[in-house]
């Protein structure tokens, strides 16, 4: 047997690409701040209702009481005399749930369409891309409004509608990645050991295409949250489920007399989207091969 080259004698620690990404992510203060921010908001939404058990629909005090005037409703009341703090705590659940569900739908449809189009090319690509373009040319907010009004406005309907209008961008991204990677040698090598198409698509190409898709999915959560707020603001959401968007929507007439009714839920939405975006940026850095030290 031949003698092996002398390079590489010490075994480097095997670091999974994901572990490497986490190491870079961890080194970004902004990304960590985003994670912290979103973590706190998720924690409040999950646990808050048990600690501060006030029904957000219950009238507790005089309408439009400013914050810090009564201990019963520390952050004031809205136009119906409902506790703002209770609304902010419970409202996060619906908002986050819709955001995450919509992003999941987006990423699943996007990857499915993009993977098949980018791998098979030819007529498959043509068909899928025409469908994608059809969805892309429709104004998304209007389209989502139509979908929500066609069915009963409820959280699942809102989440699905947002997902259905926002997948084309992800599909195009996935397609571009698949087109790039399918020509690389390790895909040919996979083919040369007898792997079938399904295996090449999901086990060989997808793991390598995932990084930008994860970043895009994260950012989609932020977009979906804003979307949900917009739909609620327009009254196109479930009126029986408290959400930040709903709070803004029902308080919008009183914005000049009672700033807190709109500003407080608005700030929550802002902080959530900020947290998500910072995480997205951090992931973008973490997956960027140029920023990795080898």
């Amino acid at each position: 047997m031949t003698v092996i080259e002398t390079r590489d004698e010490s075994l480097p620690r095997a670091e999974h690409p994901a572990a490497e990404a986490w190491r870079i992510f961890r080194s970004r203060p902004a990304a960590l701040f985003g994670l912290l921010l979103l973590g706190i908001i998720v924690l409040i939404s999950l646990l808050g209702p048990y600690i501060y058990a006030v029904d957000p629909f219950e009238i507790v005090w005089a309408p439009l009481t400013p914050p810090f005037e009564t201990e019963t409703a520390i952050l004031g009341t809205d136009n119906l005399g409902r506790d703002m703090l209770a609304g902010l705590i419970v409202g996060g659940r619906a908002t986050l749930l819709v955001g995450i569900t919509a992003a999941l739908i987006t990423i699943i449809i996007g990857i499915l369409v993009g993977a098949l189009a980018g791998y098979y090319l030819g007529w498959v690509d043509d068909v899928f891309m025409r469908i994608t373009e059809f969805f892309q040319v429709l104004p998304p907010l209007l389209f989502a409004m139509v979908l929500v009004t066609l069915f009963t406005p409820s959280l699942p309907v809102v989440a699905i509608s947002i997902g259905v209008v926002s997948w084309p961008a992800t599909a195009r991204l996935a397609r571009a990645e698949f087109m790039r990677i399918r020509g690389l040698e390790y895909v040919s090598a996979g083919r040369s050991i007898g792997a079938r198409d399904g295996r090449l698509i999901w086990r060989v190409i997808l793991p390598n295409a995932l990084a930008p898709l994860i970043v895009s999915a994260t950012l989609t959560i932020g977009v979906a949250i804003l979307f949900e707020a917009g739909l609620s603001f327009l009254g196109l959401s479930d009126p029986n489920t408290m959400s930040w968007g709903l709070m803004i929507g029902s308080g919008r007439q009183y914005i000049l007399d009672a700033w807190w009714v709109v500003t407080l839920p608005g700030a929550m939405i802002f902080l959530t989207v900020l947290g998500v975006s910072l995480i997205g940026d951090g992931l973008n850095d973490a997956f960027n091969p140029k920023l990795r030290e080898r």
Binding site: E5, R7, L11, P12, E185, Y186, S192, I193, G194
Partner: protein, 330 residues
């Protein structure tokens, strides 16, 4: 015993400027435990020959127009996709030019070898992994158990090519196609990979088709050689015959182009030889010999009719009118 026999294969590519005949009636034979070298310039059809054998000619635009490829007597042309998939990696293995990009960056090398095993054998994950470690050991990687858990980017080029060889040989194929396996590697590492291929070929009896543009590699490794030009085989024979007594002007040119290490003084340096002209476009091949425009021995005949391989003693065959004329006059 003949393991692999390529008979008169023709591969056409539809291009914007018309049909390009990438392979024109290529014939090859590889015997058990033998190393066949295929040499030629870039674009002469070496790699396309490999892809044809693997059933991986990109289609469209490519197409295997006619011919047969026999693996131990069984014609691979016309097999279904599934049957062909079963042969790839199992009965024919292939290694590629770029070890740097031929491995999937997100899986450990052990996982990738094990995958090759599991695609063709009903092996448990544990058994496949053990085989992966065993293969790494067989291709001369030290600390194989620990190395199996490495990611490709943690290995040097030579190591990665060893891993590629391990993947290709994991199912003990009858034939290994090595498509320029050392082009991207340092000279010293090249020699190690050649040694390894030779060892494996001896210990496992795998027939190897070595595709290269490196005459030195052929001289060192191969038993027989086929020289390709513009999609045709222009000369074939044993390595001794072809390298010491090249018949075809193109083969002679290729051998003359290999630089020799020269001692001082520099004043007496011979200039490097080259073959004048460029490889013709495959869409513009005329009636005659494709090499005629660059050939210093071209006869009027050469531009009119295509020469065919004519065998002389010892299986040495040449497709050249000038050579034919010369041999007849002797």
């Amino acid at each position: 015993m003949t393991v692999l026999k390529v008979e008169n294969i023709v591969v056409d590519f539809a291009t914007r400027r018309g049909n390009a005949r990438v392979l024109d009636h290529v014939n090859l034979e590889v015997n058990e435990g033998e190393i066949l070298g295929i040499v030629g310039e870039s674009g002469c059809g070496k790699s396309m020959t490999a892809l044809s054998i693997m059933g991986l000619v990109p289609s469209p635009p490519g197409q295997l127009t006619s011919g047969s490829i026999y693996l131990e007597g069984r014609d691979l042309v016309g097999l279904s996709k599934d049957e062909m998939r079963d042969i790839r990696g199992n009965e024919i293995g292939m290694i590629f030019q770029e070890p740097m990009s031929s491995l999937n960056p997100v899986f450990t090398v052990g996982e990738q070898i094990a995958e090759s095993v599991r695609l063709h054998e009903n092996a448990s994950p544990r058994a496949a992994w053990d085989r992966a470690v065993e293969m790494l050991r067989a291709v001369g990687i030290p600390e194989a158990e620990a190395r199996a858990k490495s990611y490709p980017h943690q290995l040097s080029g030579g190591m990665r090519q060893r891993v590629m060889i391990a993947i290709a040989l994991a199912c003990n194929p009858r034939v290994l196609i090595a498509d320029e396996p050392t082009t991207a590697l340092d000279t010293t590492v090249q020699a190690q990979i050649f040694d390894l291929l030779e060892d494996l070929q001896k210990s496992r009896g795998t027939a190897i088709v070595l595709i290269t543009h490196d005459m030195g590699a052929v001289a060192q490794l191969a038993d027989r050689v086929a020289v390709m030009y513009a999609g045709r085989i222009v000369e074939t024979g044993t390595v001794e015959e072809v390298l010491t007594k090249p018949r075809h002007p193109y083969t002679a040119g290729l051998i003359a182009c290999v630089p020799h290490l020269q001692p001082d003084p520099p004043e007496v340096r011979e200039p490097l030889l080259e073959i004048p002209g460029v490889v013709p476009s495959l869409t513009e091949l005329g009636e005659g010999c494709a090499f005629a425009p660059r050939c210093n021995r071209a006869l009027p005949e050469c531009t009119r009719r295509q020469p065919v391989l004519k065998a002389e003693s010892g299986g040495h065959a040449t497709a050249c009118w000038a050579v034919e004329a010369e041999l007849e006059n002797v």
